[in-house]
């Protein structure tokens, strides 16, 4: 219990500072935010594991079309439930300081729905459908066209799916990605 400050030892904070893109103060701030999601639970155990539903109450995640994927990617138990450390990892990747390569790495995993280490046609379809939201539906032929276009642009080796190298290549050329793939703490 008690204040956020007293919940961490100096050593832990130093660890967090070394292992994330945050300073100590930001780590504490992140913990406050984490605590706000479930004050009771986190009050007892600073590194409590919160179920995915709780994590998804974080404002930016709540409306994000890829929210469940984000949680799963960052969850250390791979089921979407996050401890504070997972949350901190997540925020660190989404922070402004994180370099493009790190962001691209995680973005790839977020977009890779079926987990086969390739962004295939089904993954692309899923991404597009989620982007347009639950209310608006593109017609099947439109989605097909769009997937076709994306693959035409990015699939250099013509195998009908994007490998990480290809994905990274796109991200390198996209200056918008860094602006948009970011959550301010």
């Amino acid at each position: 219990m008690g204040q956020g400050k007293s919940q961490f030892t100096e050593e832990e904070l130093q660890d967090y500072e070394d292992l994330t893109y945050f300073t100590k103060k930001e780590v504490l701030f992140a913990h406050q935010k984490f605590k706000a999601l479930a004050p009771e639970k986190v009050g007892h155990n600073k590194n409590a594991k919160l179920p995915m539903a709780k994590i998804l109450q974080y404002p930016e995640l709540r409306v994000n079309p890829f929210r469940d994927r984000i949680c799963k990617v960052f969850s250390s138990s791979n089921d979407g439930d996050c401890t504070f450390e997972d949350f901190l990892d997540m925020m660190s990747v989404f922070s402004e300081m994180a370099p493009k390569a790190v962001k691209a790495e995680h973005a790839f995993r977020i977009f890779d729905f079926d987990g086969d280490d390739m962004i295939g046609v089904s993954d692309l379809r899923e991404v597009i459908e989620r982007l347009c939201g639950p209310d608006l539906k593109l017609s099947d032929s439109e989605i097909q066209q769009l997937v076709q276009n994306v693959l035409e642009e990015a699939d250099l080796d013509d195998d009908g799916a994007l490998s990480f190298a290809e994905f990274e290549h796109i991200i390198d050329k996209s200056s918008d990605f860094c602006h948009s793939f970011r959550i301010r703490l």
Partner: protein, 808 residues
């Protein structure tokens, strides 16, 4: 097969090179993998062969390895340099080869954060690295490392402090949460302008305003000089009794007592301040006011130029990379489309919709392009005709608005001068003079009566004063209103032109910029005519202020008024017009009212608003040194006004604004504004006769003449040197050299572009090769499997038959 063989050889050679580069990685992967591979191949599902390729293996390990190996390479070079530094150490058997030193470990720990693994694994890794045996650094290296560590820590702290100082963080976050990154980039731009103005203001305050207020001018008595000398003229101008008038009106017009304040050009001294400080030095200290007055504008102009170019260059670099990848349109849309910072439901919904529209738009655009190729010649001609017609209309509107400004300016000038002319007959100087002396005598005789008259005048003429003020402001109101209405018309017209959506923004932006700048140009040219047509007369002997004793101040006043009008208008439109509209839209269900009331945050318009103000500031800062300070305050206030517009009045725009593109666009427009605003100032500095009565340059033919005069007093060597720079001996080779550099970089850029396309082709070919080999392999495996099965069956059959035989 010989050809194939050599090719294979070449490939294997390349392969070797490759292996060398990532040696560790492959050594580790292959030996184990080989057996595994065969096992896989035995059971392989032919379609899944591709997942066995090294490039498709789990990247967790590869990225970590990659980061490591890079690290190692850097360290090895580092080690080499240190080795060469102390050779005597390297003579001894080197046990340190496998051990890392403290610095290396530290570097590796810093690299951990980039790994995509959960925190506890990271922590384990860190602990492992920390506990591993390592060499202690000694001597110079240790100091070097400590320095690095301290620097790193300092940078973090500094960043933290800077982050705290960063203005408007929470409003930015709020805006970002509802409107996305494109709109935030506008507010960042606004903040950037604020800081630019702050920097300019600092210069102005430090070098003009503080010296002016602190240092004491020596006063000369006019009696010792001729009546038309600068001393007498300015004496007469500065000491003239001010006509009494309303303080409020003075403040908003910059006339009356305001005219004699440090706000305007007029009061700045033409003297070189001399100071004699006994206690410190036994010498005189000088402060050359006129020189400061010309150097400060040059400094801030250069400062702004560098700032713009630096910001724009960053944008251009991004744009260049992007334009090379024009083909990445859809990828950008799909992978970079969502703003992860959006945090409320409504904006999320709108963002979904915007993305939906964008996708549809892009697909349609493609279809549109295809259609365009198919489109008949007639319809194309028709389209072009329509575009030409609309461009003509736009041109006519632009000219008409120019004429309107011209007329209103002349009208207000005529009316105002007619009013003053009631008192002043303009028959001729002699008669005027007689008139004046008579008036003077009369006023001396009947002061009391005069006061009464004055009082009467003041009572009766409040309305008149108001009218005067309105007349004074008429051209500015006209400009501002035009700026408000005409863009709407342009917006409407562009609908007929069938441009691509991205093009629409640029075209409207350009037209609106043209409108704004042309209106400014008309105003300036009017003022210019006015200045030139009125002879610059000495104030000595002319008791009546005839409006133009100090044209620089006059010009400063005009621009000052323009800024005030603009701010008032921003304020009024936001709070008195748009707020009720938004209120209506929110609280009524009527469709009609909703259409009237709903507004989206149309980015180009708001960008123009602030760039326009910046243009005025640049234009006026020479004549009204206070303008940058006013500008700073303006931007500070306008941020809140715009934030209010954005968050309260507007709904998120259905157009997707790209943060990266909009930034470079802002900067290019700003650069245009800069050129447009600096040109007239430069012209006036170089060509126009400064007024005799006021300012730092009274008595010179041009402002620049003063600079040349000062330059003549420099030591001979320096002068010669600068002259040499100007001669063809220097200029021609320098120019040629620059051209050469330009050509060189251009050539390098082209070569790189060519290389990129070659590599891309190669990549595609490799991809095909891989595909081909995989197909072959899978076919082979299938065959193999079939053969195995057949053999198995055959052996079964054999067994069967043998069993049968044996049973018999």
């Amino acid at each position: 097969m010989s050809g194939g063989n050599s090719k294979g050889k070449a490939r294997s050679k390349r392969h070797e090179g490759w292996e060398e580069a990532g040696g560790e990685f492959y050594q580790e992967l292959y030996p184990g993998a080989e057996q595994e591979l065969f096992e896989h191949l035995q059971r392989a599902d032919a379609a899944k062969l591709a997942t066995l390729l090294p490039s498709k293996q789990a990247r967790n390990t590869t990225t970590v390895k990659r980061a490591r190996s890079q690290n190692e390479r850097r360290q090895s070079t580092f080690a080499r340099t240190t080795q060469s530094r102390d050779i005597h150490l390297s003579m001894m058997p080197d046990l340190s080869e496998n051990l890392s030193n403290e610095e290396r470990t530290w570097e590796e720990i810093m690299q951990i954060k980039a790994m995509p693994v959960p925190m506890n694994q990271k922590r384990e890794l860190k602990a492992k690295l920390q506990n591993a045996t390592k060499l202690r650094l000694q001597g110079l290296e240790n100091i070097h490392w400590q320095q690095r560590k301290v620097w790193h820590r300092f940078r973090i702290r500094f960043g933290e402090i800077l982050g705290k100082l960063e203005m408007w963080q929470s409003p930015m976050r709020e805006i970002e949460g509802t409107f996305g990154t494109g709109v935030v980039s506008y507010f960042l731009f606004l903040r950037w302008l604020l800081f630019l103005n702050l920097a300019i203001s600092l210069f102005v305050i430090l070098f003009l305003i503080v010296p002016k207020t602190v240092l004491v001018e020596t006063t000369y008595d006019c009696d010792e000089y001729e009546t038309n000398s600068t001393v007498c003229c300015s004496h007469a101008y500065l000491n003239r009794n001010l006509t009494e008038s309303n303080i409020v009106l003075d403040v908003i017009q910059g006339t009356g007592w305001m005219e004699r304040t440090i706000l305007f050009y007029g009061v700045y001294s033409d003297q070189i301040y001399t100071y004699f400080i006994k206690t410190f030095w036994e010498t005189h200290l000088y402060y050359n006011m006129p020189l400061a007055y010309i150097l400060v504008p040059i400094t801030w102009a250069l400062l702004s130029l560098i700032a713009i170019v630096k910001a724009a260059a960053k944008g251009f670099k991004e744009k260049l990379v992007e334009s090379e990848g024009q083909f990445y349109l859809y990828c950008n849309l799909v992978f970079g489309g969502w703003d992860f910072c959006i945090q409320n439901d409504k904006s999320a919904k709108i963002k979904h919709k915007a993305l939906f529209n964008e996708v549809k738009g892009c697909l349609e655009e493609e279809r549109f392009k295809e259609e365009k190729q198919l489109r008949s010649r007639e319809s194309q001609i028709f389209l072009h005709l329509r575009r030409i017609l609309i461009n003509l209309i736009v041109l006519i509107i632009l000219i008409a608005s120019g004429v309107l400004i011209y007329v209103s300016f002349n009208y207000s000038l005529d009316r105002l001068s007619a009013k003053t002319a009631i008192q002043v007959d303009s028959d001729g100087p002699d008669k005027l003079y007689v008139n004046r002396t008579w008036e003077k005598l009369a006023s001396h005789l009947s002061i009391d009566r005069n006061y009464q008259v004055l009082g009467l005048y003041r009572e009766s003429s409040f309305l008149e004063q108001l009218e005067n003020t309105l007349l004074e402001f008429l051209p500015y109101i006209c400009i501002v209103v035009l700026n408000l209405i005409v863009p709407e018309i342009f917006n409407y017209l562009i609908g007929f032109e069938d441009y691509l959506p991205a093009r629409v923004i640029i075209v409207t932006l350009l037209r609106t910029v043209l409108l704004r700048l042309s209106s400014l140009a008309v105003l300036l040219s009017q003022i210019y005519m006015f200045i030139v047509s009125n002879d610059l007369t000495c104030s000595w002997g002319n008791d009546e202020a005839n409006g133009l004793e100090c044209w620089e101040t006059y010009l400063g006043q005009q621009l000052y008024k323009l800024i005030l009008t603009d701010f008032a208008l921003q304020f009024v439109t936001t709070f008195l017009i748009n707020l009720p509209r938004a209120f209506l839209a929110r609280h009524s269900s009527s469709r009609c009212l909703k259409i009237i009331g709903e507004q989206d945050f149309y980015l180009p318009k708001h960008v123009l608003d602030i760039i326009y103000v910046q243009t005025i500031i640049w234009m006026g800062s020479f004549f009204c040194p206070f303008l940058p300070i006013i500008g700073t305050v303006y931007y500070f206030l306008i941020f809140y006004v715009k934030k209010f517009t954005c968050l309260t009045n507007c709904t998120p725009s259905p157009v997707v604004y790209k943060a990266s593109k909009s930034k470079s666009l802002f900067m290019s427009v700003l650069l245009l504004g800069f050129v447009v605003s600096i040109t007239p100032v430069a012209y006036s500095v170089a060509e126009l006769l400064p007024s005799v009565n006021c300012g730092p340059f009274r008595g010179y033919n041009t402002v620049w003449e003063y600079v040349i005069d000062t330059f003549e007093r420099f030591p001979l060597v320096l002068r010669e040197f600068v002259f040499l720079l100007g001669t063809s001996v220097f200029a021609v080779p320098a120019f040629a050299l620059l051209l050469l550099f330009l050509y060189y970089y251009w050539a390098v850029a082209t070569a790189n572009r060519h290389m990129v396309s070659v590599l891309k082709n190669q990549l595609v070919l490799e991809g095909h090769d891989k595909q081909f080999l995989l197909n072959r392999l899978s076919a082979f495996i299938r065959q193999h499997q079939k053969r195995c099965e057949r053999r198995n069956r055959a052996s079964f059959a054999d067994d069967d038959s043998s069993i049968r035989q044996s049973s018999r």
